[in-house]
Structure formats: structure tokens, C-alpha cells
């Protein structure tokens, strides 16, 4: 049973269809990349998966619950309990230190634990910068604080929006290494990205175009499982659907 099962979702803003009848299933422990040009529906997709928006039509089953039918209050609880969000612009609270920024996520989730937050910072190599304010950190360091904050509550799903979009090559490498480590540890990761190199690290890449899934590419990512299946001529149902749609 997939951890995330999207069934025929559409999102319409006035006369604009941001997403059109999208199906996608994400397995527990999978690393998925979502790519596409600007206006393809990536952000809408990310907002819906991240419980920050609801589809106009369709179902989004996360951990067995249709979040598309949940109230705003319940969606807040789902975000708190099950999702770890990583942002392109880091979105750290500028008047809190790195450590406190991580603890904010604990504060809303359960109980702030300084020791655990320090461990999370240590995991991203920033324990020595715990008392620094965001303005005293480099972009790469801020992104790592953002990752530590996303991971602190052991989320079921890590959702990253252009996590390397504002980083230089060196920091991009560091962040990707953290994602690889997360994947090895069994975390389910969905990364929205423009960068093919980042997408290539994932097991599968979903390419969105005009609000539809144009194709699903099985990469030679860390697990290589899907790549093998594609090579074997046995794409998953989403790949099949995408292939059919692209033929149409």
C-alpha cells in the first residue's frame, strides 16, 4: 500500500486548470522528484501534498486518510504530525537562533527538546552553529537548519521545494548527501526541482507539463529499483498512464 496515493486530482483557479486529473502513488521509503517547467503545476502539487491546499477534484490518500476531504484544522494537524517541509528560501525565523528554529517545529508538534534539536543540527553538520541567528549563517547553512527542522519530528513524508535552488554547487552537494542519507534510512522524500541533476538522484522523476503528468522517468537513483523495472519493461501504473496520455 503506497504511503501517498493521489487519485485523479485536479486544481482549478478560476478558468485556469493548474492540475488536471493527476494520478500518482508514492511508496514508503521512496525518493521521488517532481520536475516541470514554470506553470506546469509543481507548486500546486507540492501545496496539495503538503496539506497547504486542497484539490478541486480527486483524492489524496496520505497514510490511509483522504486529506482532500479534511478540514483546514485537520490539515494543520496532518502537516504537524506527518510532513516535514523544506523550502527553497529556507524560511527561518530571523529572530530565533538555528537551534530555536529547529525547536519551533518541536514546539508545535509536541515538546521542545534542546538535546534532540542539537542532535538534529549535528546530523546536518551544524551543531557548532546552533546559537547563531539566520543572518549569521550562509545560505547552505540556513538550508541545513531548514532540513534539521523538517526532520526533527520524524515525519512520514519529507517534502522539499527546490531545496538546492538558492545554493551554490558545494552546498547543493551537501544537501543532496543529506537527502541520500535520509533515503538510506528509509525516509520517504519528495523533491520538487528544476534541476535535472537533483532529480536524477531520486528513484523516479515525475515530469509535469500543463498540469498533467507528461512522463515518469525511472532514474539510476540511490536505490535503482525503478530504473531496473523500467529497463525490464515493467513500468508502474503511473508511468503507464503517463505514457498513454503522451501518446494521445
Amino acid at each position: 500500500m503506497p504511503i501517498l496515493d493521489i487519485k485523479g486530482i485536479s486544481k482549478i483557479y478560476g478558468s485556469v486548470k493548474a492540475l488536471h486529473n493527476v494520478d500518482l502513488a508514492v511508496e514508503q521509503g521512496e525518493w521521488l522528484a517532481i520536475m516541470g517547467p514554470s506553470g506546469s503545476g509543481k507548486t500546486t502539487m507540492m501545496n496539495i501534498i503538503g496539506c497547504m491546499d486542497k484539490p478541486t477534484e480527486g483524492k489524496v490518500i496520505l497514510d490511509g486518510v483522504d486529506i482532500a476531504a479534511e478540514s483546514a484544522r485537520n490539515l494543520t494537524a496532518v502537516r504537524r504530525e506527518k510532513i516535514g517541509l523544506i523550502f527553497q528560501q529556507f524560511h527561518l525565523i530571523n529572530y530565533l537562533t538555528a537551534l530555536e528554529n529547529v525547536m519551533v517545529a518541536q514546539y508545535y508538534h509536541s515538546m521542545p527538546d534542546e538535546k534532540e534539536a542539537l542532535q538534529a543540527l549535528d546530523r546536518v553538520g551544524l551543531s557548532n552553529r546552533a546559537k547563531h541567528l539566520p543572518s549569521q549563517l550562509s545560505g547552505g547553512e540556513q538550508q541545513r537548519v531548514c532540513i534539521a527542522r523538517a526532520l526533527i519530528n520524524y515525519p512520514m513524508l519529507v517534502l522539499a521545494d527546490e531545496p538546492t535552488g538558492n545554493l551554490d554547487e558545494a552546498n547543493e552537494g551537501i544537501v543532496l548527501d543529506i537527502f541520500k542519507q535520509l533515503h538510506r534510512e528509509g525516509s520517504t522524500v519528495i523533491v520538487v526541482t528544476h534541476d535535472p541533476e537533483v532529480a536524477q538522484e531520486a528513484q523516479r522523476t515525475v515530469v509535469l507539463e500543463h498540469g498533467r503528468i507528461a512522463r515518469i522517468i525511472a532514474n539510476g537513483g540511490p536505490g535503482q529499483t525503478n530504473a531496473s523495472r523500467l529497463e525490464d519493461g515493467a513500468p508502474d501504473s503511473q508511468s503507464r498512464q503517463a505514457a498513454e496520455r503522451s501518446k494521445e
Partner: protein, 377 residues
């Protein structure tokens, strides 16, 4: 770290590390609280200040005999005993008798001159107040008729209580101007009066200047009626009513100004907090994205507002007394009394007004949509 300590950490960090944004709000609250504390101090001190001010307008309570005769010394003493010592500004008992100067009749008044001076500070005396036996104060009208100046001597004639004629020389110590009936009187000490007229142990009237409100004066009058038989207390209504009317108007003015200042403070805080919410939309969006419930966002922003209110209130309570003192010295030429109970009231009022001012901005904070404000570029 507990949730509560993290909560305080967040709101204090927001205030301390973002001080430029919050300084305006704190300033508004502190100024509002200062004016509130200062004006309320004045509001409660005005009656005391004004009563003292009104005491310069003469007696506000007089005692006469209820039977139409003179008051005996015992009756006068019993009536005066009904006035609380701390509130008695001046008490002067008078005896009156017609006397003659150059065969022209005038009214002589024997009194305790020190008491008369305290009771009627508005008397303007050319020369000096009598300090020796045989010195008198004459009214301007008397001085004009018989052409006397301070330092002049004159001979007073008349008939004493025994019906015998007397003649005695007096020296004019000063000439009194009041613009009233007092200008037709000759004021002398009770000893001098008794020396020429004779001693009968009675007074025609006792004039009292009491630092009290009209209600307090009425209560004193009631006590006198009850405990001093034969004494009829009378309130000098032109003084007590004017005093009451002026006090009411002044207090209404202070109340109005205080209300307006509090409203302005509220508007200033609300506007500042609104700007703060606008400025921190991304932060609010982030917190909501991290799973903060609306009540959590409300608690944080309201907490910041209430913290500011408390801090501003404490500053205002401290500065307010200085402000009140400034008003007291410059307007009433008297220091105001420190009202200790006003400090916590100022803090609570500041917290309340700030909380009220934060309601709309906080409501707007909960409307922030994380999907919109956190959108990538």
C-alpha cells in the same frame, strides 16, 4: 525546555531582536499609560487641589445661633469641635458692635485676627495686619470717610455693654480691601474689643474655612446640628456650589482627555501591530506550515502585544507620577500626592487596551495562507 518557556522565548526574542518594529508600539503604550496615570492622579488630586484653591475665597461654613441671639463660647466650641482638625483651614469667631469715629457710626468687629487671616486670605491689606494691642484693621470705605491711612490714629467712642460711654485711641495698622461689605468694618482683636465694649462670653457668628467637599460640609453641618444644641450651621452656598461645579467640569475634562488619549493609544498600537503582522506574514505562514494552530498564532501575537502593554504600563506608571507632578506644580502650584494603587491599575489598563488593540491584527494573522506567502520564486 517546556512549551511555556519556549513560548516566552519566542515572544521575548521577537520583541527584543526585532526591537525597531516594536519600539513604536512600546512608545505608544508608554505614552498612553503615562498620560493615563498622570491624568488619573490629577483626576483624584483635583478635589484636594481645588479645595485648597477655593479656600482662598473665604469661609464656606458659618455658625450662628439658632435662636437668633449670640452664640455662647461653649456652643461655639462644641460646633467647632465637629470639624476634623486636619480639614480646618481657618476659624474666626466674630463679635460685632456699633461704634463711632468723629461722631459717624461704623461697625466694629472683634475677632481672632490670625483666624480671620486664615479664613479670608483674599483680603488685600495695605499696611500690615495688627500685631499689638490698640492696632486695628479698617475697611477701605471707613478709611475713605474719615481719611485715615496706615499708621494714622483715631479715637473710637461709643457705649459699652454696661451702657457707659467709652472713648479710646487706636492706631490704623492696615486698610483692608475686599470689594465686599468688609470694607465698612473696623477689625480688632477680641481683647481690644472686650476692652472697649466689655466681655459677654458670646459671639455673633463663627466663620469657618474647611477643606472639604460639599457632601463633607453637609455631613459636618449635620453633626453640628446633632451635637451642638443652639447652633445653626450654614453652608456658604455661593462658595460650595461654585467649587462643586468647577470640580465636576474639571474632572469631566480630565476624564474626556484620558479617554481620547487611550483611544489614540489603541489606534496607534493597532496600526503598529497591523504593520507587524503584515511584515511577518511569511513567518506566520511558516508557523502555520509547521503545524501551528490558529490559537497558537493568536497566543503568540497576543502574547507579544500583552507583553508590550505590561512593559508600557510599568513605564507609564513610573513616568505618570512625574507627569502629574508637572501638572500639579505648573497648574495648581502644589505637589500632587502619589497614588500607590494607581500603579497596578495603570499596568492593567495598558494591558487591557493593548490586548483590545491587538484583536484585529491578530485576527488578520490567522487569515494568512501559508501556501501563498511561502510560494517559491
Amino acid at each position: 525546555m517546556t512549551k511555556r518557556s519556549m513560548y516566552f522565548k519566542m515572544i521575548t526574542s521577537a520583541l527584543i531582536r526585532r526591537r525597531s518594529g516594536m519600539f513604536v508600539a512600546l512608545l505608544a503604550v508608554a505614552i498612553g499609560a503615562t498620560v493615563l496615570s498622570g491624568l488619573v492622579t490629577v483626576y483624584y488630586d483635583i478635589p484636594r487641589q481645588m479645595r485648597q484653591e477655593f479656600r482662598s475665597y473665604g469661609a464656606n461654613l458659618i455658625f450662628v445661633s439658632s435662636g437668633g441671639d449670640a452664640l455662647s463660647e461653649e456652643e461655639a466650641a462644641a460646633a467647632v469641635a465637629c470639624i476634623p482638625e486636619a480639614q480646618a483651614v481657618g476659624i474666626a469667631a466674630y463679635r460685632y458692635e456699633t461704634v463711632k469715629i468723629n461722631e459717624q457710626p461704623f461697625m466694629a468687629a472683634g475677632t481672632d485676627l490670625a483666624g480671620a487671616r486664615a479664613t479670608s486670605p483674599y483680603w488685600f491689606v495695605s499696611g500690615e495686619w495688627p500685631e499689638r494691642d490698640g492696632s486695628v484693621l479698617i475697611g477701605q470705605e471707613v478709611a475713605d470717610v474719615i481719611r485715615l491711612l496706615p499708621g494714622s490714629s483715631f479715637t473710637m467712642t461709643g457705649t459699652d455693654l454696661q451702657g457707659e460711654a467709652f472713648s479710646r485711641d487706636f492706631r490704623v495698622a492696615g486698610i483692608v480691601q475686599t470689594g465686599g461689605t468688609e470694607e465698612a468694618f473696623i477689625f480688632m482683636s477680641l481683647a481690644d474689643f472686650a476692652a472697649v465694649i466689655g466681655e459677654n462670653g458670646a459671639f455673633d457668628v463663627v466663620e469657618c474655612s474647611v477643606s472639604a467637599s460639599q457632601a463633607e460640609l453637609e455631613a459636618i453641618a449635620a453633626r453640628v446640628t446633632e451635637s451642638a444644641a443652639g447652633v445653626a450651621p450654614r453652608l456658604v452656598t455661593r462658595v460650595t456650589r461654585s467649587e462643586g461645579a468647577v470640580l465636576t467640569k474639571l474632572q469631566a475634562l480630565v476624564f474626556l482627555v484620558t479617554t481620547v488619549v487611550l483611544l489614540l493609544t489603541m489606534i496607534c498600537v493597532a496600526t503598529t501591530m497591523m504593520a507587524v503582522v503584515e511584515e511577518r506574514r511569511k513567518e506566520i505562514g511558516l508557523k502555520k506550515a509547521l503545524g501551528a494552530p490558529n490559537r497558537g498564532i493568536v497566543a503568540e501575537f497576543l502574547g507579544e502585544g500583552l507583553f508590550l502593554g505590561c512593559l508600557g504600563g510599568v513605564l507609564g506608571a513610573a513616568l505618570g507620577f512625574g507627569f502629574a507632578q508637572l501638572i500639579g506644580i505648573n497648574v495648581f502650584s502644589r505637589a500632587v500626592h502619589f497614588q500607590a494603587a494607581l500603579a497596578p491599575v495603570t499596568v492593567v489598563a495598558s494591558v487591557f487596551v493593548t490586548g483590545l488593540a491587538c484583536l484585529i491584527p491578530v485576527r488578520r494573522a490567522t487569515d494568512v495562507d501559508p501556501a501563498i506567502v511561502l510560494r517559491g520564486e
